[in-house]
Symmetry: C2
Subunit: 320 residues, 2 copies
């Protein structure tokens, strides 16, 4: 298997991406996985610098993610939020007591002049994570959801409004000033990656923000490694999150094919391999017709074994 011969790059949003990243983390030699994380969801809240997708990756890869909630830390307590509620403060974005420690730590380091890449690297190290987690950029890029109710900052749409307003599009504020993560760009330029895997994350608000940062998608396309994408839509549904709802509202067919077309149209030549779930096997010919190699495998990750299995499937693709 060539999978072990080089580093692997994964592009990831939150939960779905973190699941596959965990599988990759477990099957690759320690330190070989690099995850390029979406920071379009980041925001400042209660004076804290919060990076939800990075934190989901940190908590998942350190084996402490809350399986019940689907976000945050396991065994979390909520005493700060309760006290804040008693004060009449903003509690729509639920921050657990232990989770707050992460934000306090990050906020202080950023205020002290460290960049988000260094802060994230150090957080991962302190959480005993072997894999590397990189923010897509050190500069703030903020996803804005265009909706029938106007423009909404991402977390207001996602958490406060529970994805209720129908979306009409997206923009990413700050893209012009954003520079791509230097370490990942360097690894790409020197062809250090044997595999590049786009995790089954939301195309519009998790992967697009990463690909839109200047230089990133061209560097991925021009890399010697194949780019493998795992469809976030399985049997017409998103495993988690608003991807399917967004596709409906944007009049995109809610299928793996709809996802594939989105990427082909926006980033021609980027995706080499497109992995769809076995339940979507009939879509393979149409996906192949878009100029990608279509692959069929179980992609739904419920257990750790599922995650490891999907990781192994992705890493084995080139040898099939």
């Amino acid at each position: 298997m060539t999978a072990q011969s080089g580093c692997v790059l994964a592009l990831s949003g939150g939960v779905g991406g973190a699941k596959l990243s965990l599988g990759l983390d477990r099957v690759l030699p320690p330190g070989d996985l690099h995850v390029l994380a979406n920071t379009g969801d980041d925001f400042e809240h209660l004076g804290l610098s919060i990076s939800p997708d990075i934190d989901t990756l940190l908590y998942t890869l350190s084996g402490r993610s809350n399986q019940t909630l689907g976000w945050g830390l396991e065994g979390e307590s909520w005493n700060t939020m309760e006290a804040l509620e008693a004060l009449g403060g903003d509690t729509w974005f639920r921050l657990g007591d232990r989770d707050i420690a992460t934000h306090l730590w990050r906020t202080e380091r950023l205020a002290g002049g460290a960049d988000l890449a260094a802060v994230t690297q150090e957080l991962a190290r302190r959480m005993q994570i072997n894999s590397h987690i990189h923010p897509m950029s050190n500069q703030a890029v903020r996803t804005t959801v265009h909706s029938v109710e106007g423009h909404l900052p991402f977390q207001h749409y996602f958490v406060r409004r529970q994805c209720e307003p129908a979306v009409t599009g997206f923009s990413f504020e700050g893209l012009e000033q954003a520079q791509a993560n230097a370490q990942v760009m360097e690894l790409l330029a020197t062809n250090q990656f044997s595999h590049i895997i786009v995790c089954p994350s939301n195309p519009f608000v998790s992967i697009d923000p990463i690909l839109q940062v200047s230089g990133i998608w061209h560097a991925l396309r021009d890399s010697s490694a194949a780019v493998t994408m795992v469809s976030p839509i399985v049997a017409g549904q998103a495993i988690k999150g608003p991807a399917a709802k967004m596709m409906t509202e944007l009049a995109v067919p809610v299928t793996a094919l709809g996802v594939a077309k989105h990427y082909v149209d926006k980033y021609p030549g980027l995706v080499d391999d497109f992995l769809i779930d076995q339940s979507d096997a009939t879509l393979a010919p149409e996906i192949s017709a878009l100029g990608m190699r279509a692959h069929i495998a179980p992609t739904v990750m419920k257990t750790l074994e599922d995650k490891i299995q999907l990781a192994q499937t992705c890493l084995a693709l080139e040898t099939t």
Copy 2:
């Protein structure tokens, strides 16, 4: 009794001052007590704006102070600190989970442009406190402890170093730019106070910072109300905190008389009445000789009844 005929002003630091403030709060008609609080202990920590003396007053007057610890909230939990410790973050200043909510709330409001007086007023209101708590100034005044080990920011001396380094003096950074609390100055100028009470707080690091803010001690001296001071030193000891240790290190006699002299030398004509504990009765003639009226009463506050009793003693002084 004239005590109920007007508002009462109390000058206060943390624990000792908050105890007498609680007694005053309980015996005065709701809203008649104004507490002018030391903010020299305030600092920014982990990105949070922390006002320890104000918080002690808030938690004490809302009946939620931690009696066991002597600071913070009762029934507090420490999950954020534990998680921060696991990250290797700064945990020498212990912030409870519920306490953090207060700091998050304050920090966000200050960052949003509100001044400390308005933020404090709103916190008190949200904690159902009838009395008014005022920071001595909206501008940052930061107590620096001069010690045999050099200059230390107050909380580093007080909490991190546990008051260990011998002190040689104090300075208050930012005094030049600091303006006295406008509402208290207005109430003083219009003689709204029937009593002015200096609580049994540390002379050097609780009361001096307040009196040093431009205009405050002259306004107190020139007010029509008598200024009553309660000695923080009883039988040669401070009830709580480093006052006695500081006096020893500064070669000031560790007695109520030493305290009285400190104030007479620094603020001539300020103190009209000086209340000493019954155990220090023999000091009364010498205190009187400094030009104050000396009064003797039980001043040690262990129970709520003690606090109420001392408050009543202070309020009754003019009628004796």
